[in-house]
Amino acid sequence: MEALEILLQPSFWAAAIRIATPLIFGVLGALLCERAGVLNLGIEGIFVAGAMAGWLSVYLGLPLWGGVAVAALTGAAFGLLHAVLTVPLGLSQHVTGIGVTLLATSMSYFGYRVAFPNVTSPPRIEAFRPLDLGPLREIPFVGPILAQQTALTWLAFACVAVVGLVLARTQLGLAVRAVGDNPAAVESQGLSVTAIRMGAVVAGSALMAVGGAFLTMSAFNAFFFGMISGRGWVCIALTVFASWRPGKALVGALLFGAFDAYQLRLQTVSGGVVPSQIFLMLPYVFSIAALLVAARRADYPRALMQPYFKGQR
């Protein structure tokens, strides 16, 4: 069966990981915000802004890692906006998040048009190259898959471990988890609910923006309109699927990546009998199906979307 042979190709798995990388950043960012009790629907726009800011910085002469830093800072700035509006001011997190998405997306497109008024094909940059793994390349099957990945993918894996460790094993992690469950518990221990929530939203938004930057600086090497195409929303769904756990977030992102990579290859072997839209739909059908299973038992952070005001209970 041709359809099953796809699963044995290293190039398929390499693509799955590549597609998963921005989602890993995005889900980590979203779960960090939500663990602290703040839903961040700005994620879609922050992806766009990160993609644009990182790519533009490199185009204008910054080194690649400088571009990643600029992307992270851009994300942090939009995160700060979302945090100020939702945490101390306690505005609706849904409305604010959608607003941030619209603002960040429009500003990115506007910046692009101002910078490049007359181009028809998007200018390209010299992007991240696959990391040279030395002798590890020789491992059968796995070697070629890993050898195709860039430094940003490895950074994503590292972030999974770091976020997981911080949440589980540090005072900071305790505070973030507690503030998303019962802010009064944090307040009663002499910590600032506002500072912890805002910090988590800013850090989470920076991670989301790096996910966006991956697309322009490692995958497509250029910025164009509509390139995010719902990846942010997928991350919000995957966060529920992952039960707000970094390890499961990695699994969820990889599964989604695998579905997406698989449908791309399936389109070529199906010989054009099945409309391609059916295949394009597959990863999203997977998301909805996974949510149906996972969300029924989902253990939402108890204080998610509940603003907290000091001295009020």
């Binding site: 540090t170 005072q171 900071l172 507690a178 944090v186």
Partner: protein, 525 residues
């Protein structure tokens, strides 16, 4: 419940005790309201002091000032430092209060349920950037405190899996871990079974004997009398009494709190009539945990049957059956002579069931709607308050004004949104709605939870009136004082199992505690 009585064992004869906390002239205004009026309070090491007062008397304001949530307009808080000398506490800083050794266990627990007990205890005790959460030293300290205080609880499972009593132990450990000198307990026994409350009282005594000063806030006067050596009473923002507990009884304390004597009527049924509610091996469930298994009960006209139990043991399902919000899965339920098989809240009201739901905010009223609208909410079907589907506004207003006067509801008028009322007044409106149609069966579910002594007495009087008029009243309550004050017969509920109903006279607090724990009190019905 039978607390051990106060003896000289509570260090009254020990070495002179140093003052650890001193409040001087604490005054706080909110607009025109004088919430705290020049309050003085001294607390010595090893002392257990009760802080009593009606809702709105200023207890919460005083504690919030102590904790730095509010800044007093005048006055000073001084706390003993490490050398024992009193030093002023910087106002408006919760951190400073924690640092000075003031700890509080709130009535609503401040625990993160997704963390373990240990994680809750060490949360915020080290800088956020430090690696690890406390390590071996913290473990050892927690273990030592737990052993010393006798507060045994599994600290490694997530708090959501602990019982209410266990959560409270975690809260107390949390305070003790911070080396508190003053521990404030805000209505700590409101959620405990009598046995648990007794365990807590023992713990508090043992902590006090080690030099901890305890402020005990409670509405349950029996507890106050048996546990505390001194009682401070606030009324209308001012301190009206600061006296030894010895020689005081419930009536004295209640009078101090309210400022007038509270009429205590002993309940004596005038004679019971035919059954108004019969459960014969009824099973039903409102979700996985709150359920009723094979419950049997008989309630007759002209009597009050009290269901004692800690919330979540099946009371919700029992109340839902009577309210028409649940249907029996098996067994036979008969209400006012009719066998009930389905869910139909409207039909229950039409049959003559008056319902006082457990949560007056969520189920009992619609906050944004006016008092008048809330009052007629259950009675819009008939022709009294509407014509062709249009509300008869003037008649609704007139009826509501009559009821506001009859039930002594303090409000600005029938058009005021009900959410602006105090708990006691809101409950009176709900009671008026339930009782005004002279129902033959009344469901009163936690009718006085969170209300002060005066409002509670008023509601009790009206429930007794309903009984004397010939209604059967099913009283579901966690408050044993309430059960004993009202009920003619008492049954316990535990894990969905309803005990037999025993005559109230044959039971005491301890035997009802056994009923609430699902055990046989060992007496004949």
């Amino acid at each position: 419940m039978t607390y051990p009585t106060q003896t000289d064992g509570t260090s009254a004869g020990a070495a002179p005790r140093s003052t650890v906390l001193s409040l001087r002239g604490i005054t706080k205004r909110f607009g025109a309201l004088l919430a705290n009026d020049a309050i003085d309070l001294d607390l010595r090491a090893g002392e257990i002091v009760a802080l009593l007062g009606e809702n709105g008397a200023g207890k919460t304001t005083l504690m919030n000032i102590l904790f730095g949530h509010y800044v007093a307009d005048a006055g000073e808080v001084r706390v003993a430092g490490p050398d024992g000398a009193l030093a002023p506490l910087p106002p408006g800083s919760a951190d400073a209060a924690l640092g000075a050794g003031i700890g509080m266990v709130h009535q609503h627990f401040t625990l993160a349920e997704n963390l373990s007990g240990f994680e809750n205890i060490v949360l915020g005790t080290r800088p956020l950037w430090s690696p690890g959460i406390g390590g071996r030293a913290a473990r050892a300290k927690v273990a030592r405190i737990a052993a010393d205080s006798g507060l045994g609880v599994d600290l490694d499972v997530s708090v959501s899996r602990l019982s209410v009593g266990e959560k409270q132990r975690v809260e107390i450990l949390k305070a003790l871990y911070r080396d508190v000198k003053v521990l404030i307990l805000d209505e700590p026994t409101a959620v405990l079974t009598p046995q648990e409350a007794e365990g807590l009282a023992d713990t508090v005594r043992s902590l006090a004997s080690r030099g901890l000063a305890v402020i005990f806030i409670s509405h349950k006067l029996n507890e106050v009398i048996s546990l505390c050596e001194r009682v401070v009473v606030l009324r209308g923002g001012a301190k009206v009494a600061d006296r030894a507990t010895a020689g005081a009884d419930r009536a004295t304390l209640a009078e101090l709190m309210v400022g007038r004597s509270i009429e205590v009527r002993h309940s004596a049924p005038r004679g019971v009539g035919e059954p108004v509610l019969t459960l014969d091996r009824v099973s039903a469930a409102m979700g996985r945990r709150d359920r009723l298994v094979d419950a049997s009960l008989d309630l007759r006209a002209g009597e009050i049957v009290g269901i004692a139990g800690v919330s979540g043991n099946g009371q919700g399902t029992l109340a839902a059956l009577l309210a028409g919000l649940a249907a029996p899965r098996s067994g036979r339920l008969s209400v006012l002579g009719e066998v009930i098989t389905g869910e139909d809240p409207r039909a229950m009201v039409a049959r003559g069931v008056g319902r006082v739901p457990e949560d007056r905010h969520r189920e009992g009223s619609i906050g944004a709607m006016s008092i008048a609208e809330n009052f007629v909410l259950e009675r819009l079907q008939g022709g009294d308050f509407q014509r062709l589907g249009f509300l008869a506004r003037s008649r609704i207003r007139a009826e509501t004004e009559r009821v506001i006067a009859a039930f002594d509801v303090r409000c600005s008028g029938p058009d005021a949104p009900i959410r602006l009322l105090s708990g006691g007044n809101m409950q009176k409106v709900i009671l008026a709605r339930a009782l005004d149609g002279r129902p033959r069966l009344v469901l009163a579910h936690q009718p006085t939870r969170g209300l002060d002594v005066a409002a509670t007495a008023d509601i009790h009087r009206r429930l007794l009136d309903a009984r004397d008029r010939g209604a059967g009243v099913l009283l579901i309550s966690e408050d044993l004082d309430e059960i004993f004050a009202l009920a003619d017969r008492i049954a316990g509920i535990h894990h969905g199992e309803l005990s037999r109903a025993f005559p109230a006279g044959s039971l005491d607090q301890r035997s009802v505690g056994l009923l609430m724990a699902g055990q046989d009190p060992g007496i004949a019905a």
